[in-house]
Amino acid sequence: MRRYALEGLHVLDFTWVGVGPITTKYLADNGADVIRIESAAHIDVLRVSPPWADGQPSSINSSQFFASYNTSKKSLTLDLSKPRAREIALRLLPWAEVVTESFTPKVMRNWQLDYPHLSALKPDLVMLSTCLQGQTGPRSGFAGFGQLLSALSGFYYISGYSEDEICPPYGAYTDYVAPRFAACAVLAALDYKRRTGVGQHIDLAQYEAGLQNLAPTLLDYFANGRVLGAQGNRSDRYAPNGSYRCGDEDGNERWIAIAVADDRGWAATLDALGAPAEDRFATMAQRFEQREELDRFIDRLVHDRSADELTATLQAAGVAAYPVQTCLDLHRDENLRAFDFWHWLDHKEMGPSPYEGLQHRMSATPGELRGAAPTLGQHNEEILGEMLGFSSGEIAALKREQIVY
């Protein structure tokens, strides 16, 4: 019986920033040995982005943004723009079963570390290349953040109160859509390779993975000619549906999300809120028809209530509801706590820091955050010395020449 699902898997990880590292985190937290190759010469931008352990960018090793996505991994620094550094990276290739990278396509090509070069040396290699718009096509070289890709792929257009009042999701939304697809791709290709001995290259565009989450909207355009725009909390399935302001708590606004699917749910909602039945809202059709009046009606009923108590009351009556959680609330959320979601890990420089945990739990071989994120080059000696057999003098020279850098 294995302790971890991916025990024995070796991954040479050239990815950086969001999608790539989150993908290899799935592997690392499940027992794979993942060596991240990074460099101070082209620093992972998350290492210089907040939040920082002491609230200030005092060190390259104190970003929790970076730390969150790099648990259970080892860090080796190599400045791959130097030929000698690339030679060292290639000495790790026989060890690796999977190679991952997330640069724009020309980078690995220029370094002769792209799939054609690596698979010539190791024919059964499984390799993931993930960039914003894919390895081919006129925009393959498009660089940027997931925020831009989220706009480009259509998520911003359907976020807001109306087409004239766009309110995008926070952050680089597609960076949090693509990794699950990328992890599935790597695992499926790895399974195929282990069954057949045949490796392959995966070209995963963050764009195309993101569009999976917009599929019905694209069908609606292709088949019906309709362009979906932002429409607030309006739903075709629930009425009322959305967020309603409750009483403030500790001077902060507090809201509750409520979604009512049918007449039974509506009767239960009125009962839970202590409100008499209203003829004008008696049927689903009427509630869809008069959404704005309905929202104002709910607003009046909940405006001085406690969001937590109201959630309990509505859910006891079988109505979908939950407080609209701030990020601070999430750290105190009883249900996340019961799932053992938050973890404080002891980071070499940051000390105990809060990490998001796993989103699923396996009964027999559960993954876990096996260690805090590495500092930049934390495992240089271990990898160069113990794995590759460099002497401490040689390692010192490599550092001096900024090959190990």
Partner: protein
């Protein structure tokens, strides 16, 4: 894979089907609730016409079975005995209560990987809570961050939470497959949808602890009391997403933007002289007074500049110059996008009953040796009853007739 999900997990089976797995979608005799999700093809409701169903159930086989009937449940047990994977999204405890929990099914199939998708896990006070997209979006922290200050927090206008949970279930099921390849034993997996949404919050999670405050929604601005940075700009025919940043992340892009603006007479002198590399702190941090002033002036000036162009002109020229920006595209823009066309992304799939071809998103990745198969339509209700009952399960015609008469299938 046996797929017993609704809209809280349909994407799991879809990903497996794309990878070539035989995915049997078990539906109640009246049809899976996802067949009723609007909008519909030609805006005409019908059991085969939901665009959600046509998107996320594509490539699966459909078999009808009545879980309220003991005979129907026996059919599920027979199927589970032959399955590699089962994924479900019923209320916590429901399948156990009708004898279809993991322990019961594993008795006759120790290889089975049984993945349960839950809104809030199985241990906390909310384990039996009802959920919807808005409700899990709120519970996971994303809703609070979308919208204008003072106005209601927002969901996206296309439900997302169930898709994250479904994709997570696919990852988890595939992970569990690896130890099974060694020891032949499956296991049970629980997916937590609330946790999946927390995982969309980027770098916000530790902000309240490390920086003493949490972000607030501010429309097209990144928001907290000391932070106000525009991330969506108006242009001639819509909007463009861009962040005016300095430091290692954005100095190059911002310098090139200023040069572009200067060529058209939109750059102030200080913008040209600015050392954008030193213009820190980075994107998500509070700005000092001078930074705030400069930032506001840049934002105003960029919007004046962008007002002279369409979003496609800005995208094309921005990409040429290496300015990091992206147009706020609609479905129509996506459909016409040259990059997707060059990669032959969209798939054209014939639908036998509807009598027409449907265009829809293609594969989520390009595999060099085993390309994903996105050539199959979504199944009609009970389309695969005969082959599954007769060939896969080996039921006789009499047995099928009995089950049908009893309302089990």
């Amino acid at each position: 894979m046996l797929d017993l999900t609704d809209d809280q997990g349909a994407l799991c089976g879809k990903i497996f089907a794309d990878l070539g797995a035989e995915v049997i979608k078990l539906e109640p005799i009246a049809g899976c609730p996802t067949r009723g999700i609007p909008p519909f093809l030609d805006d005409r409701p019908g059991v085969d016409r939901s665009l959600y169903f046509l998107s996320h159930q594509a490539g699966k086989l459909s078999v009808t079975v009545n879980l309220d009937s003991p005979d129907g449940r026996a059919v599920v047990r027979d199927l589970a005995a032959k399955a590699d994977f089962l994924v479900e999204s019923f209320p916590v405890g429901y399948l156990e209560s009708i004898g279809l929990g993991y322990a019961a099914l594993a008795e006759s199939n120790q290889r089975l990987i049984y993945t349960a998708i839950t809104p809030f896990g199985e241990a906390g006070p909310a384990r039996n809570y009802k959920a919807s997209d808005a409700v899990t979006w709120a519970a996971g922290g994303m809703m609070f961050l979308m919208g204008q200050a003072g106005k209601p927090p927002l969901q996206m206008s296309l439900p997302q939470a169930g898709l994250h949970a479904g994709a997570e279930a696919a990852v988890a099921s595939l992970l569990a497959h690896f130890p099974r390849q060694v020891d032949g034993r499956g296991q049970r997996v629980v997916v937590n949808m609330q946790a999946c949404i927390v995982w969309t919050l980027m770098n916000e999670q530790a902000m309240p602890i490390m920086h003493g405050d949490y972000l607030r929604r501010q429309g097209v601005y990144l928001g907290s009391p000391k932070l106000r940075r525009k991330i969506v700009f108006k242009c001639q025919d819509g909007h463009v997403a861009m962040m005016i940043t300095g430091g290692a992340v954005g100095a190059g892009s911002t310098s090139r933007l200023v040069k572009w603006m200067d060529e058209k007479g939109f750059a102030a002198d200080w913008m040209k002289q600015q050392d954008w590399r030193a213009w820190t702190p980075a994107i998500f941090m509070a700005l000092g007074e001078r930074d705030l002033r400069e930032n506001a002036e840049m934002e105003q000036q960029v919007e004046r500049f962008f007002a002279t162009m369409t979003k496609h002109e800005i995208y094309a020229e921005g990409a040429r110059r290496g300015v990091l920006l992206g147009p706020v595209n609609s479905a129509a823009d996506t459909a016409a996008d040259e990059q997707l066309a060059a990669r032959d992304f969209f798939a054209e799939v014939d639908h036998p009953v509807l009598g027409r071809a449907l265009r829809r998103p293609g594969p989520f990745a390009k595999f060099s040796r085993t390309p994903l198969d996105v050539s199959h339509p979504a199944p009609t209700l009970g389309e695969h009853n005969e082959p599954v009952y007769h060939k896969l399960l080996g039921y006789s015609a009499e047995r099928v007739a009995e089950l049908r008469a009893a309302g089990a299938i």
